[in-house]
Symmetry: C2
Subunit: 777 residues, 2 copies
């Protein structure tokens, strides 16, 4: 009976959620409460938030941390400028831009919010009428297989996406389990219906990004194969098994590359109904007759191991054809994740913004192994995860800041597994390095630092996980001593990176110093004082790039003099990467008091921050299409990119916590929102959203690797954090209002907090954290 | 003590074999007997035999049926005509032509004798002096890394190859186990010695045959990686682990393809001492200092599964650095294989020719699995061989004729495993087909028929192997019913293949009919009369392409009329492939009496054969560079290609066995010999040599799938067949001489044979088979 009751409640919940949780982006009016016993938090998520401009998120269907992230691709105008780098393509990292009115298909892998792009694997597109295999335009100048669509026909919620493909009268719906995408296409009556499997399409298409593709038509409804690409991941392989709910009546493919040996061509008509296809660039199609309103379903299972692995994944995760069942299961998984933090907010908009942010923090790293634990390692060999689930997509320069610290609260088990995945990466690395920016069994070396050390140190000081801590320390030490990597040799030799030896030298010196401090923290937790001493010394090297004469971090040359030409507002060629000295120069999270001291003490430092937030920045310093745009700016403060994310909290250390409180509330109000433009810059695999989640709750991990959070000003009226240890932390903001942004007093279980910090241990104890809000201090 | 004695004998044997078994091809004088207790048959093998012109064999080092076949590549002048088909390249199927005087390196995979080419993987070349990475010529017009060499410095014996690379003063020696190539380079004094690993080189090079290459420098002496090519095998992957006996002092690589993403380039100087390389075309190099006479050794282990698999193979097969030990082990393996047939001949030349032929029958199919039984299947998934060793390289249109029948005597266990490998191929085939011509987890569809059925039927009627016979029958039936394959649908519909529907229609009709008869024989052995009846019916379809009005097999059109224009001497466009009606039209091995009847009875048929062997063929019918050349012709009879191989034995059925006897002796004398030109056409993976081995012994499998062999005229004076069942068959040719080519009487264990046949069962019983030879009858 209990089971039945639960089922009933689920069904009631879903009835609501199906109807209510997929608001059109135009319609932000909602009912404020759901009158069921169980609240379905999926209703507060709007996957369209941030899909405009530089948010780089996608509206498609995925399970939490799912390997399959199945989403519409709208970037066809851009992507087909073959061979030429087109700056417009940067907007299409997740394959979707809300301004577009055409869809060329649905791809099964997509980055969420990243600052570079790849993936877009296995594009599927249903069509009717004359078979067209060109996405844009045929040779005869006729329309390609893309379809127009209206946003009014779109619906999206966690694990679900729907759109009407107007060019064909087809309704497309999709859901997904972790490893399987589930499509449901409702066709019109047609004796000329097609489903195209386009293996040429890539996000960030170049004319030769494909290395190889391989397809087998196993029977009249099952297709297997793989694609290898040399994109951002230069040795990436995606295997698949694709099954139709109905046998196709015929099929075929077109191949675009040069044929060297013609055995196949002499023996067969390969282009039609021939079950074996291989080549650099292939588009296959499958033909059907359909009745009006007939649904053809399609399941696409992925594997990074083999097509046999994909078949295993298909069998294990979705052995049936019940689309709603899969959707319900995935929706429940989402609800489990989202309900870990129950919030009440001042408005429904805030609630939507909050839960969508929380949703965005559950999209990557992704699970990267088959159901049996086999996965492709960095050495391209097949490994089996022993005692963990293997993850990939580590955008660590971004995510070490707040996303992984958030995981230490919301996903300690997954974060443990992510660290084990990073250690496996190290063990498989020919450099003996932890990941820098890695995805799909490849290291793409994007951005700087070795911030896996921060993720590991943060988990160690917070006592998260059962990974091998000695091994983690050794892996970190190894990583910090790969002298040929990005100036590490110079950094060790000069105790800073000389700009004339290795560019972005200040950014690198600052970040290496912080990462080294993290290694020292690890050593401290396991009592290795010699390593601790060594790396504490390295953690002070930031001092060597501070120019006291001008009060800024500044690039220094090998001869010991500072670089002469220097514009602290410029983000290019000034020793920084994706930031200027005004912002990025504030990056000494491991010793903020000393940094403030260097910069002239509390008042001068406060003035610096005030100026930062209020100065007017000349257009020449602003990028149009990359990481620092007007949308993400407050004065010269860049919220749209990571190096400044800790900056608003620095007032705390300079004796002005009220300025932190006002700023973070102002940032939450202006840089986030429940619209397609609700992200002011790349979500960066969840980092931008993690900032919002933390800040909404009233605290933030300014220094990952330390056990303490900086207090800010909560946005929520109330929040319940249901912790992994079974305890609950209730956060209350008394007298919360849009104007009461200041915090008068904070009590934890009735006891006032003396400092502007709260420890992880205290949070994990649960209880009541009360912020007393006021509109002035 | 026994062990020590054996070792001593081995050493004595080897001392002889090392000195004597590697004669220069120029020096055919040898001692006639070896005075040791154990005869080392390797001394009678000369791997240079057939390395000139169209033999397509290689002189390099390999273990019997080894995956590694490590051999010098001399075809550089030809192979680098990128992108253009160059007919000269056909001569280089095995990478080596004896006329050449330059070597560009040593490749680890080579076909032996095939009629098409591929492989040439992982070219290694030692050099000294300025580093040169271009094989032919540098951009500056200087000499590439090739070396000149003299044949006088070459030595080769089973499992061993040696040459002096004159351009560098380096002596190169190599040996191999099944999965590992072992190089030993003796350098001059140099502080600029290099070993180049060229992943660009391919036999039959096209400018884009490579798909992808990947290298990791694991430490200062171990390299791993893989290469994927789209050659004849269009989805072929070779993984490797390469280890040096001495750490290199530095290394690097050059990459020739377009770089899409520059993360690696911004972070690193990748070209030197950077341990991770990937791209379409890569050449790596490793630098050493060497003393005069210093040996640098190199072990290259292959795997078709993964580089981890290659490492496993390396560890399992050659965990040491004792070059001689590996050579001795491999030499012993060769002796084990060769000593299965002990022969005495009229001359040492004949003995060398015989044992070299026997050697050539032990080079393929090759073992194609890791030491743990894992292998890459036709579906590109990794499988594990259960109860068999997996083999690849099935050149079945050639080898079903005599090579696999020979295996049923010399290698029944391996043939059993080869059949299991073919069944695994069927099970993995998306077409549910047995192999046609398959290699390296790919079907290349070369030539016609489905002759795996013949190999299976022959094993079944001879009671060889423990493969699943019902499954084998079903796999054969499946194969014979893939209607879209090469005219099978038409064949079933019309009971012949109409030439206007599908070319080479007569060859296909004849071969399908024979293969169908083989399926009927299988069905018969397991009592499936319905299948037997069905396929016996199909086996008679050859009647439908016989034109009684002209007495030739002749292409028929779909309308039932014979093709009008018809030249029975022409090998092109006349309904045959690689043969003409005169030769190929005699292909009804399943019912020779009826074929003779069709052709007018014994006398007219005998006249046909006589004419065939004696007519003068106009130049216009002869190819220069392909399969039918003057070298392989006797009149219009083509011994250099397979379709005629049974023909000299057909006289037996027409009442003229004496003509068979004279012809086969004449063929053995003129078409084979102990020189580099000792093969008159492609050895075709051992088929040409298997013909010689059988014919030398006095019998031949005219109809594989039948339990009987046709008797011919033995070349040997005496032969001992040491059979797998422990028995020995002694063959004696009484009064043997070059003139006594006729057989007066044949007795088996004292009993005269009445017919011109001997059964497999009789042979396997062992005993004495006596041919009484005479110079007239």
């Amino acid at each position: 009976m209990l089971k039945k009751l639960t089922l009933l409640l689920v069904i009631i919940g879903l009835a609501f959620s199906c109807k209510k949780e997929t608001p059109l982006i135009e319609n932000t009016e909602k009912t404020t409460t759901i009158d069921t016993l169980k609240t379905y938090y999926t209703q507060y998520v709007n996957p369209f938030i941030g899909t405009s401009k530089m948010g780089h998120v996608f509206p498609g269907a995925t399970a939490p941390f799912g390997m399959v992230q199945l989403s519409p691709q709208t970037n066809f105008e851009v992507m087909f400028e073959d061979g030429k780098y087109n700056t417009e393509t940067y907007a299409y990292c997740a394959g979707y831009q809300h301004k577009d009115s055409t869809i060329i298909g649905f791809a099964h892998t997509n980055f969420s919010g990243t600052g570079h792009s790849d993936l877009g694997d296995l594009l599927v597109m249903p069509t009717t009428g004359n078979l067209v295999l060109d996405p844009l335009e045929t040779k005869e100048g006729e329309k390609g297989f893309y379809s127009t669509f209206l946003h009014s026909s779109e619906e999206a919620s966690p694990g679900y996406y729907k759109v009407d493909l107007d060019s064909y009268g087809i309704q497309a719906e999709m859901t997904a389990s972790e490893r399987v995408g589930f499509h449901q296409y409702t066709f019109p009556k047609s004796n000329d219906a097609h489903i195209v499997l386009d293996l040429v399409y890539n996000v960030y298409h170049h004319d030769n990004k494909n290395v190889w593709t391989f397809i087998r038509v196993e029977n009249d409804s099952m297709i297997t194969g793989y694609r290898q690409t040399k994109g951002w991941a230069r040795d990436k392989k995606v295997f698949f098994a694709m099954q139709f709910s109905k046998p196709f009546k015929s099929y075929g493919h077109r191949k675009y590359d040069q044929v060297l040996y013609d055995g196949f061509y002499r023996k067969f008509n390969q282009s039609e109904n021939f079950p074996e296809m291989a080549g650099k660039d292939i588009r296959a199609y499958f033909n059907f007759d359909t009745e009006a309103g007939e649904k053809i379903q399609l399941k696409m299972a992925l594997s990074n191991v083999s097509s046999a692995g994909a078949l295993k994944n298909l069998e294990a995760e979705i052995p049936h054809w019940d689309f709603n069942k899969t959707y319900e299961e995935t929706s429940d998984k989402w609800n489990d994740e989202l309900s870990k933090i129950e919030v009440e907010t001042l408005s429904e908009e805030q609630k939507t913004t909050f839960y969508t942010a929380l949703y965005h923090t559950n999209l990557s790293p992704i699970i990267y192994e088959d159901v049996d634990g086999q996965y492709r390692g960095l050495d391209q060999n097949i490994h089996t995860s022993e005692g963990f689930t293997n993850y990939t997509i580590f955008s660590l320069w971004d995510t070490y800041r707040a996303l992984h610290p958030l995981f230490n609260i919301t996903q300690p088990q997954r974060n443990n597994h992510m660290i084990k995945s990073m250690l496996a990466h190290h063990d498989q690395s020919v450099h003996s390095m932890l990941p820098i920016w890695s995805h799909y069994a490849n290291e793409n070396w994007c951005m700087i630092g070795y911030h896996a050390t921060s993720v590991i140190a943060d988990a160690m000081v917070k006592n998260v996980g059962d990974f091998d801590r000695k091994h983690a320390l050794q892996a970190s030490i190894n990583t910090a001593n790969v002298d040929y990597f990005d100036g590490i040799g110079y950094y060790k030799e000069y105790q800073y990176i000389p700009e004339d030896k290795n560019g972005a030298s200040v950014s690198k010196t600052l970040e290496y110093a912080y990462d080294d401090w993290c290694i020292a923290q690890m050593a401290n937790t396991i009592g290795d004082t010699s390593v601790e001493t060594e790396f504490l010394k390295r953690s002070e090297y930031y001092n060597n790039v501070f120019d006291k004469s001008i009060g800024f971090m500044r690039p220094k040359l090998a001869n010991g003099s500072f670089k002469k030409e220097f514009d602290p507002l410029d983000t290019h060629g000034q020793g920084f990467i994706e930031g200027n000295a005004w912002n990025y120069g504030l990056y000494v999270p491991q010793n903020i008091p000393n940094m403030i001291q260097l910069m002239g003490g509390n008042e001068r430092f406060t003035q610096h921050l005030d100026s930062l937030f209020t100065m007017e920045l000349d257009d020449k310093y602003i990028e149009k299409n990359e990481d620092i745009t007007r949308d993400g700016l407050i004065g010269n403060y860049v919220h749209g990119n990571e190096p400044s994310h800790h900056v608003p909290y620095l007032y705390n250390w300079a004796g002005h916590p009220e300025k932190t409180q006002a700023r973070v509330r102002m940032i939450m109000d202006t840089m986030y929102g429940p619209t397609v433009e609700g992200l002011c810059g790349n979500d960066d695999a969840g980092q931008m959203s993690a900032w919002y989640v933390f800040s909404s709750l009233g605290f933030y991990p300014v220094t990952p690797g330390s056990p303490n959070y900086a207090l800010g000003s909560p946005l929520v009226k109330e929040a319940k954090l249901h912790l992994d240890n079974g305890k609950t932390l209730t956060i209350k903001a008394k007298n919360q209002s849009t104007k009461n942004v200041y915090v008068n007093r904070v009590t934890l279980n009735g006891k006032a907090l003396k400092k502007n910090t709260i420890s992880h241990a205290a949070i994990m104890q649960g209880g009541k954290l009360i912020f007393e809000m006021t509109n002035n201090l």
